[in-house]
């Protein structure tokens, strides 16, 4: 059963149409990677899923609730849709523990003790239990992003959206973050990941979605898309990326 279902999604900025009818779905427990050239609308599509961007057309169902409906309680729904950002967006004035526990306390109204215990568990899950008292500026980029993942995980969402989670990282720190994501996948977390990490997408994704020009050009199993791409646009994109990355 789909946790996230996007159909006919459109988004325009003025006269520029960024998304021209995107269809995709993410089933429970699936890791779906979205790949494609810069400006293909991947991040915009992702940001529409929790209404950080307002779609101009189409439908998004999250766990059966229509995200774009006028009557939806978006603040309620967003607790079920975690998000991890390219630039981490940790709160610099709060410790790692407070970064993770803030929404547990202020949104879910849990007691300080309960929220901090849950936050500590989430930090341990990303391997940063010992860094609970550190401020973001005292952490490496990879550690900051893992705190960002813990912040999303702690709310126990139905799905987590990853917006190029490793693009702002030094190459040697990328693997730490990807390992945390692989671990999440093994724990059964449903994930929609916009990424340029082709080897990660190839190895870890259940399905891969290739976007270009604001539409989904091709989607299928990682093996199908990477090893037997049907569309010429997919083939030329993978050829360019393969030669640049290896």
């Amino acid at each position: 059963m789909p946790i996230l279902e996007v159909s006919g999604l459109r988004k325009s900025y003025g006269s520029t149409e960024v998304l021209r009818g995107v269809d995709l779905h993410v089933d429970a427990g699936e890791l779906v990677c979205v790949i494609g050239p810069s400006g293909s609308g991947k991040s915009t599509m992702l940001r529409c899923c929790n209404l950080l961007e307002t779609p101009t057309g189409g439908r998004i169902l999250a766990n059966g609730h229509e995200v774009t409906s006028a009557t939806v309680d978006i603040n309620r729904l967003r607790q079920d849709i975690g998000m991890v950002f390219q630039q981490f967006n940790l709160y610099p004035h709060l410790t790692a523990l407070d970064n993770v526990s803030l929404a547990l306390r202020k949104v879910q109204r849990r007691s300080k003790a309960e929220a901090e215990a849950m936050a500590q568990t989430a930090l341990e899950q990303v391997g940063l239990g010992a860094k609970a008292g550190s401020f973001p500026a005292e952490l490496s980029g990879g550690q900051q992003q893992r705190v960002g993942i813990a912040r999303a995980v702690a709310l126990k969402p139905h799905v987590i959206l990853f917006d190029e989670p490793t693009s702002a990282l030094d190459p040697e720190l990328v693997e730490d973050v990807l390992n945390v994501m692989r671990d999440l996948r093994h724990r059964g977390m449903t994930m929609l990941v916009v990424t340029h990490e082709m080897s990660f997408a190839h190895a870890a994704a259940d399905r891969v979605v290739f976007m270009d020009g604001g539409v989904v050009v091709e989607q299928g199993s990682a093996a199908d898309v990477f090893e037997r791409p049907r569309e010429t646009r997919t083939q030329s994109f993978l050829a360019r990326y393969g030669s640049r990355r290896s």
Partner: protein
């Protein structure tokens, strides 16, 4: 020349005059401190409130706030004070010298505080608000717990200087006969025919404001660290 020395002390540091008029100066200090605290509290709270309302991003709300801030920052505080003191009675709202000084300086401080805090809010990257909203926080929760703490860290150091210069403007209250330090000292030196009370006033201002200046220096250093 001993005669010249004693003449200088007789004129400016006359103990007999000081003894007679120090209660007036002390009473003035109380008024200055009272008005000063009232101005700081209402001015910064109003400024904070205006900055947050402006951050809502509604043009109809932002325009009057910007107009208010620009007008209040253009007018000399003395002019605001005099206009309100002589203008409000004409509108059927005669206020005491204390209330008018409080109101005028609060409005001026609010304008500057709004601008400082607004600049602080603008300096917080938009990703901060997005991250907070993505965890289900309402706009005002994200503002309260994520954006404002960062904005105020940026805004407070420049704001402390503004707070000091505007609270010192309580001396302008003497123009509308507020019994603060300067007004009482001027009255006393007229009665005494001796400027010693003015020297005492200068000393009284130091007693009131020097700790504030030192405190602001401490705040600037402490808040810039993180």
């Amino acid at each position: 020349m001993t005669g010249g020395d004693s003449g200088f002390f007789f004129t400016f540091f006359n103990l007999a005059v000081a003894k007679q008029y120090w209660p007036n100066i002390a009473a003035g200090m109380l008024v200055t401190v009272g008005v000063g605290i009232a101005v700081v509290v209402t001015g910064t709270v109003l400024g904070l409130w205006l900055a947050v309302v402006r951050a809502l991003g509604r043009r109809a709300l932002a325009l009057p706030i910007v107009a208010f801030a620009d007008i209040m920052r253009s007018l000399p505080p003395l002019v605001v004070l005099i206009v309100l003191y002589f203008g409000l009675p004409a509108l059927g709202m005669p206020l005491s010298a204390f209330a008018v000084t409080w109101l005028s300086l609060s409005l001026v401080l609010a304008a500057y505080a709004e601008e400082s805090i607004w600049a602080g809010i603008c300096a917080v990257p938009s990703g901060q608000l997005e991250a907070a909203r993505s965890t289900g926080m309402r706009w005002w929760q994200a503002m309260r717990w994520v954006v404002l703490p960062q904005a105020l860290r940026r805004a407070v150091p420049p704001l402390t200087n503004r707070v000091i210069s505007i609270t010192k403007n309580t001396a302008l209250g003497s123009v509308v006969a507020l019994n603060e330090i300067l007004n009482n000292a001027q009255g006393a030196s007229s009665y005494a025919g001796n400027p010693t009370p003015l020297m005492m006033a200068a000393f009284a201002y130091l007693v009131v404001f020097l700790p504030l200046v030192v405190f602001s220096r401490w705040i600037e250093q402490r808040w810039q660290r993180r």
